[in-house]
Amino acid sequence: MSAAIPVLPRPADRNQTDNLLELKGVRTHFFTRDGTVKAVDGVDFEIRHGQTLGVVGESGCGKSITALSVMRLIEKPGRTIAGDITLEGRDLLKLSAEEMREVRGNTISMIFQEPMTSLNPVYRCGDQVAEAVALHKKVSDKEAMSRAIDMFQQVGIADPKRRAQSYPHELSGGMRQRVMIAMALSTNPELLIADEPTTALDVTIQAQILELMKALREQNRMAIMLITHDLGVVAEMADEVVVMYAGKVMERASVTTIFEQPHHPYTQGLLASIPRLGEHRERLEVIKGTVPNPLNLPAGCLFKRRCPYAMPICNTPPPLRAIGPDHVSRCWLTPEGEPPSIGPDATPEVAEAAARELTVEVSA
């Protein structure tokens, strides 16, 4: 369904042709007392071996829920009701609970936003990393511990032996995130899901952690799904970018395309709202309005109420369609950014939507 994605240099020892992770039409809904929240509503993307995919969007757009859906860690009242999540040819949604446990932490690892609270306060850091190893590898306690100390070394913790004996409260935030990364990578996973790994850290530590993730990515040849709302982090880290809004993918393209030729008005809005160095402006650009209430999403395009280009056709939900090589966008605008023609030369999709639109107007 999507346009071809440029082939990235991949390690020789990995399967060249297959995607590592493929999401197709994934829908995760939360059935609350007030109604159904469609937190993730038809998300498609794929991640290839060794590739870094940035997933960006505002708070509540479904980024984290997408990640948790992949891990199958959605809790009641949420449920992934449709779609396929395929990891190296295996549909994760069809695995038994036990098989899924074997995937978690082993093939896919995850690190979380809050390093301050993601470590168990009652265990020494080294023991926690060793536990992660012991959960998936048949090793003795001693081997697991030496592996943990080895990982501490790799994530740049000075004096790893001693720090392995520390309790989490004795470490700083950046240090704890390093421990989390050590834990996630101790089993040498194929895919690391990083859910806002730097949001809770101050800027200098952020840079260090990103550098560390980059270095480890090269070294371990793993893919990263990087969830963030920080476009700077995306520019720094990602090969490809998925822009999400209200549970749907709005645009997907390589990182250069997203930054140089954003197509979707939402992506343009996001980019315009980044302050730029050396530019004098009284106020920052903002995207007008707020994210629609997830219990009451607008009909048609989800972004239309905030979109500067909104037009009648936007009352029909736009499909995610190719607008260039390796570039898909969920918007009716033409690839050049012009309003679509609804005359005789209209594309079949637009013509159909326009026809529907006209009927609605007539019947109203």
Binding site: R104, T117, Q154, S172, G174, M175, T187, I205, A215, Q219
Partner: protein
């Protein structure tokens, strides 16, 4: 093991990055949780005294019956109501038995009943509370209604019924009866802890690492929920000892010739006006034991409370 070892640092590559000052950690020794708890406990003067008394009582209850042997049950009608002597430090009772030896035997019974009943309480309370709190939803509701039901039963009559049904005088029945009715408070406390702890980030992180539910419950949540459980257990010992003594006093518990603080009280009642001192010994021992357990429980509760300041 091969797989584990296959991440190798390329020559010259460093993932360490610059280690800034912000990443430096103060490596001065930090007091661990248990060190803090001990420190706070030691500040609680009553609790420390209670702990010393409890230790003395436990040592006596174990040592005296071993040294004195059968003295606690040997009746001798020629030596009734003797005053204290070297041989019988507290004198003899209406059947010529050595009161001190008998008292320590009774204390041993009480402590045994108390400890074993509390073991049942802790086991049941922790298991049921953990399941209710961790699983939640319908299971939680069902188990908490079970707690309500057990709480609504007049416990004492239930115990009397159980004892009457399974036969009095058997220590095991009494232990079971107390244990099976006493777990509700512990279950509620553990459930409350679990409700809170299962939502923590580190439990989520453990799940993301592929830990099983059992592992998460036992290894990641239970250690943090241990404080209220220890407090409930300590206070539970006091309750169980009182329950056992009451039962024995009423004749539903430990029956003579076996010794229990309760049946020593009821024995002494016969001579209440002739030899009133007889009732003082078991009563005082009982009060001492229960108070010690309660104060230790209080001290632990304060010691586990992180908001309690450490003075000095």
């Amino acid at each position: 093991m091969d797989h584990v070892a296959d991440i190798q640092l390329p020559v010259g590559a460093s993932t360490a990055g610059p280690t800034s000052d912000a990443d430096e950690v103060d490596l001065t020794p930090v007091r661990t949780f248990w060190q803090l708890v001990r420190q706070r406990f030691l500040q609680h003067r009553l609790a420390v005294i209670a702990l010393v008394i409890m230790i003395v009582l436990v040592v006596l209850a174990i040592a005296v019956p071993i040294i004195a042997g059968e003295a606690w049950r040997k009746t001798n009608l020629k030596t009734i109501f003797l005053p204290p002597s070297l041989d019988a430090p507290l004198g003899t009772d209406g059947l010529g038995r050595n009161i001190f030896a008998r008292l320590m035997q009774a204390l041993q019974t009480s402590l045994l009943v108390g400890t074993l009943a509390v073991a049942i309480i802790v086991f049941l309370g922790a298991t049921i509370g953990a399941i209710a709190g961790y699983v939640g939803g319908f299971v939680d509701n069902a188990l908490m209604r079970l707690v309500d039901i057990v709480l609504s039963i007049p416990v004492f009559f239930l115990i009397i019924m159980l004892v009457a049904f399974f036969g009095g005088g058997d220590m095991r029945v009494i232990i079971l009866a107390i244990g099976l009715t006493g777990w509700t408070l512990a279950a509620r406390l553990v459930r409350a802890e679990f409700l809170h702890l299962r939502e923590t980030d580190y439990v989520q992180a453990a799940r993301a690492l592929g830990a099983s539910d059992l592992r998460i419950v036992v290894r990641h949540i239970l250690p943090s929920a241990i404080a209220p459980l220890i407090v409930a257990a300590t206070l539970g010992i006091a309750d169980s000892v009182v329950a056992e003594s009451t039962l024995s006093y009423l004749g539903f518990g430990i029956n003579p010739p076996n010794a229990s603080l309760g049946n020593m009280l009821s024995d002494a009642q016969e001579y209440l006006f002739r030899v009133p001192i007889l009732i003082v010994y078991p009563a005082f021992t009982l009060i001492l034991l229960v108070l010690a357990a309660s104060f230790i429980g209080d001290g632990l509760r304060d010691a586990f409370d992180p908001r309690q300041r450490i003075e000095k």
